[in-house]
Amino acid sequence: MLPPSLNNEMNPLATLNRRRFFATGASGLGTVALAALMKDNGLLAGEVPQQLAHIAPRAKRCIYLFMEGGPSQMDLFDPKPKLNELDGQPMPESLLKDIKFAFIQKEAARLMGSPRTFKRYGECGMELSDLLPHLSTCVDDIALIRSMHCEQFNHLPGQLMMLSGSDLQGRPTLGSWLNYGLGSESQNLPGYVVLATLGRGLPGGASSWSSGFLPSQYAGTLFRNQGSPVLNLANPPEISEAAQMRSLQTINELNGLRFDQIGNPEIASRIKAYELAFRMQQTAPELLDLSGETKATLEEYGVTREEASKSNESGFQGSYARNCLLARRMVERGVRFVTLFLSTWDHHSSLDSGLNRYTKISDQPIAALLKDLKRRGLLDETLVVWGGEFGRTPLGENRANFKTVTGRDHHPYSFSMWLAGGGIKGGQVIGETDEIGWGVTKDPVHVHDLHATILHLFGLDHEKLTYRFQGRDFRLTDVSGNVVERLLA
């Protein structure tokens, strides 16, 4: 005979009366443990709302489109006619003083113009490159920043800076800070999810979504976009869902007995963790099931696009489109923070073909994501951020062993990013760079400023969101950062 619960559509674990643990356990609980218990362990939505919001929030969720490697701003977002004129000329020496490059040999370096054509789009008349035909239809929703700047000219330090506000490994990433500050809204998915479309791996690997010194429940969870989405989510092959349910029931019954006996609150926490794990097992696979999406949606994102022609790139284009669609499905289900990595824009050589390829992969799905979010009324509360760790040099890269100059080196001193939705005022360009795109000449926005603004959009004061570690109160923005008021709607 099967127990009645198994013939019942109801989750058998609900038969365990969770109230019991709160009622009888309370007298024996430590306050810290009790808080942890009440908070639902941070990974999944809390029953008690977090109380850290300092300001009225505009954004509730964020999709961060991380363009690993450093996309070339003067070929995508920041037209530089003067640079084209000066193509092949040396750079003014005054600009080169005190500058460090990763690879360029300063003395022989020459400026390199862009072969792209720029046009004005939308009501706002934003200028974009011909490589972004799809994004150009969304310009009235996006705020383009042409004056981003930073100090880190190597990949990982730059990426860590952009993701965690520090060039050192071991600090919490933005998604961890937001989940730490605000908790998760999803009852059965992690609050911080990562999807990756990788040419070659990420420089920082899993440090790119690390919770650093914050407890590990605030770390990002890496999802696969096919098959079983999370590591260890699927039962072993010989265990059916019914058997899993039956086993979990007994695990929780026995844990319950133990709790009654010795009253240690961690046991109650453990019971709950197993319940949530089971809920995650049931809901996470559904996330990847696109059969409920219309053909029009799939086509708009490009999920059904023809795969890239080169054999070693098969699956690549469809994969990014799929990840963009999954990002929408995640925010719909309350995931607080989704990072989509696209690797790599590190075009030291073959810049033209590289940009061609990467914009082909990403332009259509990203535009589709913005439009889809907007149609569904999600864009208002969903912040979308696009950007890499830095931009690229107006100089062509003449690395010692390069025969020809066909690419650009890392350039953190001025680069472009854009934001949309979630309280951002669209249809505007912030900041300017000089004639050749070397430095920022107007409205500089540092990475810390960007972070301060993002936290602000979520209702958090970047100076107040702190965590004590090694005797110091750490912030995402370290010791600086100003909210960029002009970005706010």
Partner: protein, 811 residues
């Protein structure tokens, strides 16, 4: 430093005055500066406004300094309180005042006293200086006397001075101690705490029925002598050492021989190398007189720092970051001070200036990265065995090669050919063999390919080189303050030196070096090192230190819950010649350690967090141990100690996120070695370890988090290694007890939980077994059909037991 001693004497006088004036309330009698005002300034102002740390440019330590004022000008206008800026700052509006910052405002009486003092002319005797309050942790370490005449409660016998200190606090606070834990819990606790493995059922039963009054003591001694003790306590140390098997950052290259240091730690702890020697060798083993290889290997401690090898990086920048990490780590590990805050500016809270930070930095600025060749007999044996296995095939191929050899090879040609064969590095080397063989003859290609394959798998003799420090002798670097922490903005030049607030350093030579620094940590007058070290031992045996912030004994850290006990233990550690094992033995022999950890073992509603130690604490085991106990309980565990790391299988999507990560899964029983041997690649840390809160090895970790998450549940339920353990255990039970399910459950309980199963539990499990058996017999779409439903059901029962909270909890 006569000056310092003089100041300390003054401070003592002041403390006396402070106490003497305590309890006096506001009155109309004339204000006396020394009696009335100085204690107020001392208490509220001096920690930020003293001779050394002049926050806002202001010091209030002497008449002269107070007269000078700070950046905002003079703060005291003698005779005119309303014109005195100081009063504006300290007078609260709506309950908060500008000063003291981040602290409650002064009381009305205190403010009135200062007002009266200023009005009366703000007189301040010229020779009277006020010293900043001395942080508790910096006060000299004295051995407190053990509380006497503590009435012994029946369930809490005073077994040693630890119990006397703890019982005194129980009594003072009216707290009732928990009874002693039962023997099954005790043996399990000792096994987890001392060796990190579960006791076998035989050992448990023997201990439970052992009537010898010294049974517990014998058990303790056995475990302290176990070679697994070094693994358990070594892993704690590796957290502090931010040990990993790769560089970190983008390159994240594997550190092939980092494990040599890990093995050194395990051995040193097993041999109970006194903590002072243990520390000195790690900080400066290379500078000892005629250092042994082992002492050189020990300096691998500071080679665990991350290093950035990304192409095109500013090498000097990252070299300085490594040194900054070494200074921070040294501060936290031995002194419990967070020097890191002083990298860019004077420490905001603790008495460490930026200059002092770079004086410490100077000790490490001339330590060069180097390696030392290590010879291990097991490596030689391993090589010889592999070679023996490889040789026959190669010899056979040689005879076949002979058939292709050109007829009239001269001896020197043969020598040259052999040189190519023996020096083989890559496939293209084979082309260089062409002049010696008939390469057109049929079959050559095949032989040649085979040769290539064999040469590629030819075992190489061990060449283990451990990363170590050597002191730079030529082109020594000078050290400068980095202005605002920016490495290429040198400020004032500094010499190696230790912070002013700590005892003086005596050096062997004119310029102190790393060895002097290491020895200074252990000089008798240093109060921090023993306090910090003994607190960590306590932390590992109670789940929480007497000071809850083990790396921060500064003003922002937590105060000790039992200051006298901490000092007594610290003094005892020194007296017992820094023997780690002696201290652990002392602590685990106490009644305090042996108490039950059940939250309901006694009722003390006013101390639910157990700060007064009325019970033991219960906590989830660490990541590595969670793995170890699964493997141990099912019998798969490979108990090899030390040596190279292992790579348990991982799905590609996990390793693919890093750059060119090679993760060839370990074969054979190696896969089942303890969790501490899993290769730790910083950019792709092993997911199970991270899910269970292992540190990320970026910086020193003195206290792990203990989270409790759904991902942990999924890992234990479905992770391949965990399921394999359940399968192994289930299979054994099914074979051993094909017709006796209750006996199988009993055995599993004894193996996993060290106790018999209760009747209720047996009922729950029998019901589950019946259902699972029926489910296994039923065909479903979502599971592979089993041909042995009974086994499948038993495996799942094993899986249930191995997923119980109790299994992964140290009670």
């Amino acid at each position: 430093m006569i000056d310092l001693k003089y100041r300390i004497a003054l401070t003592a006088t002041l403390m006396y005055l402070l106490l003497a004036s305590g309890g006096k309330s506001f009155s109309a009698e004339p204000v006396d500066f020394q009696r009335d005002v100085a204690p107020i300034l001392h208490r509220h102002c001096l920690s930020c406004h003293n001779d050394r740390i002049r926050r806002g440019g202001l010091s209030l330590h002497s008449a002269q300094a107070a007269d000078k004022g700070g950046e905002s000008g003079s703060s005291i206008d003698p005779g005119d309180p309303s014109a005195s800026y100081l009063l504006d700052l300290i007078t609260p509006t709506d309950g908060t005042a500008e000063m003291p910052r981040d602290a409650p405002p002064l009381s009305e009486n205190e403010i009135a006293t200062i007002r009266r003092w200023i009005k009366a002319g703000a007189s301040w005797p010229a020779d009277f200086e006020i010293q900043p309050p001395v942080l508790w942790s910096l006060q000299p370490l004295q051995r407190p006397s053990v509380p006497q005449d503590i009435a012994t409660a029946e369930q809490f016998p005073i077994r040693n001075p630890i119990d006397a200190f703890v019982a005194a606090r129980h009594k003072l606070n009216g707290v009732k101690p928990a009874p002693q834990a039962d023997r099954r819990t005790l043996i399990r606790r000792l096994y987890f705490d001392l060796v990190g493995l579960p006791p076998t059922p035989d050992v448990v039963e023997a201990f439970v029925s052992d009537e010898d009054p010294r049974a517990y003591e014998r058990l303790v001694d056995d475990l302290l002598a176990s070679p697994h003790f070094g693994e358990r306590w070594g892993r704690y140390w590796l957290d502090l050492a931010r040990y990993a098997d790769s560089d970190g950052y983008l390159g994240d290259s594997i550190r092939q021989h980092a494990w040599v240091y890990r093995e050194w730690v395990i051995d040193a702890i097993n041999q109970d190398l006194p903590f002072n020697q243990f520390s000195i060798e790690q900080l400066a083993g290379d500078l000892l007189e005629k250092p042994t290889v082992s002492q050189k290997i020990a300096t691998g401690f500071h080679r665990n720092t991350l290093s950035n090898t990304e192409a095109g990086v500013d090498l000097e920048l990252y070299r300085t970051k490594e040194i900054v990490d070494r200074v921070n780590t040294t501060g936290m590990v031995w002194l419990g001070l967070t020097f890191g805050c002083a990298e860019c500016h004077d420490h905001k809270h603790d008495p460490v200036s930026q200059k002092e930070f770079y004086q410490l930095y100077a000790f490490f600025n001339n330590a060069n990265d180097a390696t030392v060749t290590v010879k291990n007999q097991w490596e030689v044996t391993e090589y010889e065995q592999a070679r023996e296995k490889w040789q026959p095939a190669y010899d056979e191929l040689q005879t076949r090669l002979k058939e292709y050899e050109l007829a009239d090879l001269k001896p020197e040609q043969k020598t040259e050919r052999d040189k190519i064969l023996n020096g083989f590095k890559k496939a293209s080397d084979l082309k260089r063999l062409a002049p010696f063989y008939q390469t057109k003859k049929a079959g050559w290609d095949k032989v040649n390919t085979q040769l290539g394959k064999l040469l590629e798998t030819k075992p190489t003799p061990p060449a283990t080189k451990a990363p170590v420090f050597t002191e730079r002798t030529k082109d020594r670097r000078d050290t400068f303050i980095h202005v605002r922490g920016i490495y290429n903005r040198p400020g004032e030049q500094v010499k190696p030196g230790t912070p002013f607030v700590l005892p003086d350093l005596s050096s062997r030579d004119q310029t102190p070096d790393r060895l002097d620094l290491a020895q200074w940590l252990f000089q008798d007058s240093n109060p921090l090192t023993p306090r910090v070290a003994v607190n960590r031992i306590w932390q590992h045996l109670f789940g929480r230190g007497l000071v809850a912030t083990p790396n921060d004994f500064g003003t922002k850290g937590e105060a000790p819950t039992h200051p006298l006990l901490l000092d007594w233990l610290a003094a005892e550690y020194k007296q017992r010649d820094w023997s780690r094992k002696a201290m652990i033995r002392l602590i685990v022999m106490s009644s305090t350690y042996r108490m039950s950890s059940a939250a309901n073992a006694s009722s003390n509603p006013r101390d639910i967090n157990n700060l007064l130690l009325w019970r033991q604490n219960s906590f989830r085991l660490e990541a590595e141990i969670v793995r170890d106990i699964h493997l141990a309980a099912c019998g798969l565990l490979d108990r090899t100690i030390g040596r190279r790391g292992i790579r348990p299988p991982l799905p590609a999507f996990v390793t693919d996120v890093g750059r060119s990560v090679k993760w060839p899964a370990s074969q054979g029983s190696e896969r089942y070695r303890r969790g501490m041997y899993i290769v730790f690649k910083r950019t792709v840390p092993y997911p199970m370890l991270m899910t269970f809160d292992a540190p990320d090895a970026t910086v020193s970790c003195s206290r792990r988090e203990r989270s409790n998450t759904p991902l942990q549940a999924l890992t234990l339920l479905n992770g391949p290694m965990f399921f394999e353990s359940a399968q192994a255990l289930g299979r054994q039970m099914d074979e051993q007890y094909p017709d006796d399910f209750p006996a199988a459950v009993q055995t599993m309980y004894l193996r996993c939980l060290s106790r018999p199963v209760s009747e209720r539990e047996q009922e729950f499990l029998s019901a589950a077994y019946a259902d699972l058996l029926q489910l296994a017999e039923t065909k479903t779409k979502d599971a592979t059909q089993t041909d042995n439903p009974r086994l499948t059901a038993m495996v799942q029962v094993a899986r249930i037991i191995m997923n119980l909270d109790e299994f992964i909890t140290r009670d």
